[in-house]
């Protein structure tokens, strides 16, 4: 009984890992909907940072 419970728990972990891999839960992105088609003609008009936090490029 105890083993069955532990196996069930472990199989849930494995299933979650598999799903996380296939669905890319470890990936990172900000999603923006309804981006206008005009972006293809005027890429500079798109502001990705509006979708999330502004990013700072440091460098040396």
């Amino acid at each position: 009984m105890r083993l069955a419970i532990l196996m069930l728990l472990g199989l849930t972990v494995l299933g979650t890992a598999r799903t996380a891999d296939v669905r890319g839960w470890m990936g990172r992105s900000n999603t923006v909907r309804n981006v206008p088609r005009s972006v293809r003609d005027n890429p500079g008009a798109y502001r990705a940072l509006y979708a999330g936090n502004p990013r700072y490029f440091g460098g040396k």
Binding site: L6, R18, V22, R28
Partner: protein, 434 residues
């Protein structure tokens, strides 16, 4: 008069000290008996009933199981006919336990021992165990079972009452050695020249109370006894079994994913970052994601002692949904103190969650230091497996043996602490014999 089967016959005589009536249960088997009136220890086998020891030295102890109590033990009627308290001294501390003599005229003697609520059902054994003293911790093998040495001590008889199948006197001292393999304990006692072996089985107090019809409940056991079965062992074993099975499944799942992942390269193109250009951002040619899957956008940049940053949006032409991500590459190198060094990497990737199938393009906005044109290559790969979920799953699985095993380990640690080999015990066995 003939006694009914199973009912012990009795014989009596008068105490040589006080003249009181002394009753014998085990008849010819009894080597010593105490007078119920004055408490003197007597030898009933001597025609003159010699006084082994007078009562003056004796203290009064009431046995938890009264003498004369009868019960059914191992399917046979037994009567409690003797009781003794013995003790050992370890590191200046005296540890006492009680021993009860059970008698059945057809089955002979058995014994019950009680140490702080921990009971053992004990019988003497005729076969001599094989003792191996080659290792630091000796072992004894009996009936194909291997026992580990637990404690060596010198036991002293502190109190006796009733009948005994051996000649007992107060202050008797014997050397004892206990070997354990829970729930069993193999014990030897006697002198270095002559030893008697007995086999004890850890028995819950409730079983004894029920067998002998004792009132109330047995005292709660204190601490962990030498041969007390580990109640957490089954759980620990289940945890270990589950871990190894699940670990095998995890490895199989991981390998299967690594083998079957498409890793389909759907786009690849090279560009050059031109600092000072009026508009750095651009869009790529459209490409198709044939199926849902994770996306990896890989960049190789020819950065040398500089950096290059990218804002990247993967945009679905049909729905207008954009997946924004970013990456900065930096690579520095040089020589210091005659040794060359590098820092950073010329390659990197951005990992996106599962993206639906469809037509897509990239909108890329590179950024870099002024005055340095840098070439780079962009690649889009679909259905890329990630190791991280499996690594996290492995950590989660490791909790199974840990959570189920720590209590078992704690229990064993407490058991060993009471042995000659525990951390709280003296390394010098002589101390046990003080």
């Amino acid at each position: 008069m003939v006694n009914a089967p199973g009912t012990p016959r009795t014989r009596g005589f008068n105490c040589a000290n006080c003249g009181g009536a002394v009753e014998l249960r085990a008849l010819a088997h009894t080597r010593s008996v105490t007078c119920t009136t004055c408490g003197s220890l007597l030898d009933p086998r001597d025609p003159n009933v010699v006084i082994l020891q007078e009562a003056a030295r004796r203290e009064s102890i009431t046995p938890t199981i009264p003498l004369g109590t009868r019960g059914t033990w191992h399917g046979q009627p037994y009567e409690v006919i003797g009781f003794q308290r013995r003790s050992i001294t370890v590191d200046g501390t005296q540890y006492s336990w009680d021993e009860y003599v059970l008698f059945n005229p057809f089955r002979g003697f058995r014994y019950l021992t009680d140490y702080q609520g921990h009971w053992n059902d004990v019988r003497t054994i005729r076969e001599l165990p094989v003792v191996d003293t080659r290792s630091n911790r000796p072992t004894a093998t009996h009936d194909n079972r291997k026992y580990t040495h637990f404690q060596h001590a010198q036991a002293t008889t502190d109190f006796v009452i009733g009948e005994f199948p051996w000649r007992v006197t107060l202050g008797d001292q014997v050397v004892t050695d206990d070997f354990v393999e829970p729930p069993y304990m193999l014990s030897s006692e006697g002198t270095e020249q002559e030893r008697t072996w007995s086999l004890g089985t850890y028995t819950p107090g409730e079983t004894i109370w029920k067998a002998f019809g004792l009132p109330g409940a047995p005292p709660e056991p204190v601490g962990v006894f030498a041969n007390q079965p580990n109640p957490y062992k089954k759980g620990a074993n289940a945890g270990c079994t589950a871990f190894f099975v699940l670990f095998g499944l995890l490895v199989a799942l991981f390998l299967l994913r690594m083998i079957t992942a498409d890793r389909e390269r759907v786009f690849s193109s090279s560009y050059t970052y031109q600092p000072g250009a009026p508009e750095a951002s651009f869009v790529t040619a459209p490409f198709t994601l044939s199926d849902d899957g994770t996306i990896s956008i890989e960049i190789d940049a020819n950065v040398s002692n500089n950096w290059l940053g990218f804002d990247v949006a993967l945009i679905n032409i049909g729905t207008g949904t954009a997946y924004n991500t970013d990456k900065e590459l930096e690579f520095y190198f040089g020589t210091e103190g005659g040794e060359s060094w590098t820092e950073g990497s010329r390659s990197g990737s951005m990992f996106l969650p599962s993206v639906p199938a469809g037509e897509y393009y990239l909108r890329v906005e590179p950024e870099g230091p002024a005055g340095i044109a840098t070439g780079y290559t962009l690649r889009v790969v679909r259905d890329v497996p990630s190791k991280l979920p499996y690594a996290i799953a492995l950590v989660c699985l490791l909790f199974l043996p840990f959570l189920t095993g720590w209590r078992s380990g704690w229990f064993e640690q407490k058991r060993q602490a009471e042995s000659d080999y525990g951390s709280s015990s003296s390394d010098d066995d002589d101390d046990d014999e003080d």
